[in-house]
């Protein structure tokens, strides 16, 4: 499978627009177009194979399901995963004739996603650094009350950073990278140590995504019971995700009621004490 110049340009543009500091803003770009699952639809449209792209994107999404970026410390900027990783993974999965929804296809996709993930981190820090130049122009504009330049500093000048740091690398890697990926078969046999490790890693990596999420919500080990409860719903009782969400909602609803009743009780007790 080949990615032509036109497709590589479109992928480069998408990489420039998305990401946490992308040109389209947080809600559309970072939390929507930079989610691998959503990106896979866009990549699928660009490459002309929506079905494969979405299956690949879904597998990669699991790894990054809980990506939280507190205070601009970005562990992985997903634009490289989305707009370099997914296209290459689609090419690789098709090149190797794997079933993208199977364990093997998903494993390969996840590993390729993780490989290019570091490129995203480099892109993030480079863009943020290059934007310092534009902010120097912006600071001078404040004293002169030059509103137009302040807007340019925040919206338009950073496009130059994106072109240099996101567009060009994405274009070249997706345009030339498919040849490399297509020859994977000969260079790396499936029963060799590198490929076995890569696929094993593909099955282990989603645990990091879940682990990050778990870290957000569970500080006290006792709270792990809630997590085990959810795990058991799916693993032992075979309830699907939406079902588990409703069971969870019911329990959370009860929890809310209990807290509120407790708070009302406390208030009543305090009032009674005052009366005495």
């Amino acid at each position: 499978m080949e990615i032509n110049i036109f497709q590589a340009v479109l992928l480069g543009i998408m990489a420039s627009l998305t990401s946490v500091i992308g040109a389209l803003g947080t809600t559309y770009s970072w939390y929507t177009l930079s989610r691998p699952l959503v990106a896979s639809l866009v990549v699928g449209i660009i490459l002309g194979d929506i079905k494969t792209a979405i299956m690949v994107g879904a597998a990669i999404q699991v790894v990054y399901i809980a990506l939280v970026t507190p205070g601009g410390t970005v562990s992985a900027d997903l634009r490289a995963v989305c707009y370099i990783g997914i296209p290459l993974a689609v090419a690789a999965v098709k090149g190797a004739n794997l079933d993208p929804s199977g364990v093997q296809g998903a494993g390969l996709a996840v590993s390729i996603g993780a490989l290019v993930g570091t490129i995203g981190t480099v892109m993030f820090y480079s863009t943020a650094t290059m934007n310092l130049i534009w902010q120097q122009i912006g600071w001078k504009a404040i004293d002169k009350l030059n509103y137009r330049t302040i807007y340019l500093t925040n919206f338009i000048f950073p496009l130059v950073s994106h072109f240099v740091i996101a567009f060009l690398p994405t274009f070249f890697i997706t345009y030339y990278g498919t040849d490399v990926v297509a020859n994977l078969k000969e260079w790396l046999p499936m029963d060799g140590i590198p490929m076995k490790t890569m696929f094993t890693l593909g099955s282990l990596l989603p645990a990091v995504g879940i682990g990050i999420l778990l870290k957000q919500v569970v500080q006290n080990p006792v709270d792990l019971i809630i997590f085990f409860f959810g795990f058991t719903l799916a693993a032992a009782l075979k309830i699907n995700l939406l079902g588990a969400a409703f069971v969870g909602a019911m329990i959370a609803f009860l929890n809310y009621k209990i807290i509120m009743v407790g708070a009302a009780g406390k208030k009543a007790a305090a009032a009674a004490e005052e009366d005495l």
Partner: protein, 284 residues
């Protein structure tokens, strides 16, 4: 005579923030310029002379950074405070506005990060992943439509609330009811994460032990202990559960970064393959 901001100007402030909160990001001044861009229409309408305009614009030059979506509340509050200042409330000075901004950005970042990318997005994505089985476009479309619509409405709502309440806005998000609500939301999140881990992680071992042969009804049979079956009898998908707990332990108790944990997993994968514990058993 009191000045009241146009609805149009307030909307402008909101949309500049909505689109530009992080577009000019640097590590030195993360969302400062995004915030300033939102305040410009407000400042231009409230003050007609350059001295006041410059004073008010400079109020918003200190560092600002928070979870930008829930942070639209801070923009709303600042618009409300700026309006009050233009109406002669001299006690509202730079120090007070920046005190409120700085006081809110930390707690709101914590609440926002744990509720939006930490809870709401994973729940939506889990549902979307379920909908995209077999490569269906339904999953991505569901996520994009539901997320963008709900988040835009939410941001507009808390922006308006912030404007109305000015400095009192804090009560809405830190009151008792809000705490109970937040705790309960986190609870749904944790349960869904558990279900997600069980559905989407499939760590398994290929290790088998040949225990010789045994004879049933005169026929000799191989006695092989398949370790994976044993694990499944203890608890379904046990290895996946243990892997998640391991990563959680490293990140929470050992304070490791996700990158370090990924590197440790690379080592575990390699060692596991070398000793035969892991073997995907694949061929082209």
């Amino acid at each position: 005579m009191s000045v009241k901001l146009n609805k149009k100007t307030k909307d402008q402030a909101f949309w500049w923030w909505y689109h530009g909160n992080l577009t000019g990001f640097t590590h030195q001044h993360m969302q400062t310029f995004g915030f300033m861009c939102a305040m410009i229409p407000v400042i231009k309408e409230l003050y007609k002379d350059d001295t006041h305009r410059l004073r008010s614009l400079k109020t918003y030059t200190p560092f600002f950074n928070t979870e930008p979506q829930i942070g639209s509340m801070v923009v709303g509050i600042s618009v409300g405070l700026e309006e009050a200042r233009a109406n002669g409330h001299e006690e509202i000075d730079d120090e007070m506005i920046n005190g409120i901004r700085a006081g809110l950005m930390g707690p709101l970042a914590g609440i926002g990060d744990s509720l939006i990318p930490g809870t709401y997005i994973p729940i939506l994505l889990s549902i979307a992943l379920g909908l995209s089985t077999g490569g269906s476009v339904l999953g991505p479309l569901f996520y994009a439509v539901v997320y963008i619509t709900s988040m835009t409405l939410f941001m507009k709502y808390i922006f308006d609330k912030g404007y109305e309440l000015g400095g009192r806005a804090v009560d809405v998000i830190i009151g008792e009811q809000a705490t109970a609500f937040r705790e309960s939301m986190v609870m749904v999140g944790t349960i869904v994460i558990g279900a997600l881990a069980a559905s989407w992680i499939g760590v398994s071992t290929a290790l088998k032990f040949d225990l010789g042969t045994y004879i049933v009804d005169g026929v000799e049979k191989a006695n092989v202990l398949v370790l994976q079956d044993t694990f499944n009898n203890i608890y379904p998908n046990l290895l996946s559960l243990l892997t998640v707990l391991f990563t959680w332990y490293l990140m929470t108790k050992k304070k490791m970064s996700p990158i370090t944990v990924m590197l440790i997993l690379v080592v575990i994968a390699l060692v596991g393959v070398l000793i035969g514990f892991f073997d995907p058993g694949l061929s082209y």
